[in-house]
Symmetry: C3
């Protein structure tokens, strides 16, 4: 089943296009590889899910934020490629979680993102290599920032 | 206009070659893609712009540091490739800002770098995908560290 | 000398296969490039070297942790490729050190990893571009997390 059909079937609501947060391109394609800029958990109307996980946000709220980053990334992919079916498969994900000093469950947080990708693209194409890491703060105090590399469909 | 001519026209002063900070290569080329190691805001004479933005440094000083990282990167590109005109275009930038816990303007800081790349290579070739992230500290307490991927000119 | 022979000659003990820490693949190959997920200093039996360098761990202990990440990465490469001789060369390393706010020797920590790669693959193939960065915490409070990109052998 195609990613576009899955979005419909799952009733997923993609947020509006993410406003540019600085001087960069949302996506650069080189050969058959797409490099996607860091995305936050964008909700629309210039609002993001913000806060430090383990301090302002619970693990569950962090997972929700990671899922929202995924929805924002799907929006950017759709905007930039015209169609999600042009995504071949995800190669690698780099994710930073805005973390309290004693918060250590970044992989569980980022699973919120990876689950969404699995639902939309399937396990084979939606799950890539991944690094879940932490940081003491993030732009606009967003809860999670994720960048990724993907292969274009042939 | 070529990058080399732009450097001259803008009167940019590149710092001396960055001394190796550990066991790594400044640049690795695979196919037509160059992978550049993390760079700091090198000033020459083993000096870097140091400090935590939002604590020791203002936003403006952070931007200046990000621009200095860009100058150090241009120096390494020139050293390694012989000529900046061999840079085709920037694909992706990963930037970490040494940040106070409540500092959230990392994208604005890194714009100091991206503006320089735009001046030197032009918008099309100088601006890639980008992730601006934060951290609580950096090697030698430098203010900003940036790595990037670029395409070689054909 | 081949990487497999070097492992033997050096008497290196690779840890058991790293248990999956979330929803991701240990390695994704696209064209002739391998993208390896973030790895920690895995010891076996679900145990990792943990703690913040400059606070819980000394520089030397951090270097030991970085070396242990390298051993875990070699294990994953061997598991996934069948044979370490299929690794052509390391292209780029991204390393985050779990760091006290005033700890600034991340490159020295990560040299513990890079030295191991040099021992196993030799300087030409084992040393790539590198970014050594810091963070306030990491998954499971591991001391170091490293991801890398490598070329497959022809």
């Amino acid at each position: 089943m195609s990613a576009e059909s899955r979005i419909q079937e799952l009733g997923l609501m993609l947020p509006p296009s993410v406003p540019p947060g600085g001087i960069y391109k949302p996506l650069v394609i080189s050969g058959n590889i797409g490099y996607l800029s860091g995305h936050g958990p964008y909700l629309g109307d210039d609002k993001y899910i913000t806060g430090r996980v383990g301090e302002d946000l619970t693990l569950g709220e962090g997972q929700e934020a990671a899922r929202q980053v995924g929805l924002a990334i799907l929006r950017t992919m759709k905007d930039q490629l015209g169609d999600l079916n042009k995504v071949g498969r995800i190669i690698k994900v780099l994710a930073l979680v805005n973390s309290a000093n004693d918060f250590c469950q970044q992989p569980q947080v980022i699973n919120g993102f990876s689950e969404l990708m699995k639902e939309v693209f399937g396990e084979d194409r939606g799950i890539g290599a991944r690094s879940a890491m932490a940081t003491n703060t993030l732009p606009g105090n967003i809860a999670v920032e994720i960048e990724l590399i993907f292969e274009l469909a042939e």
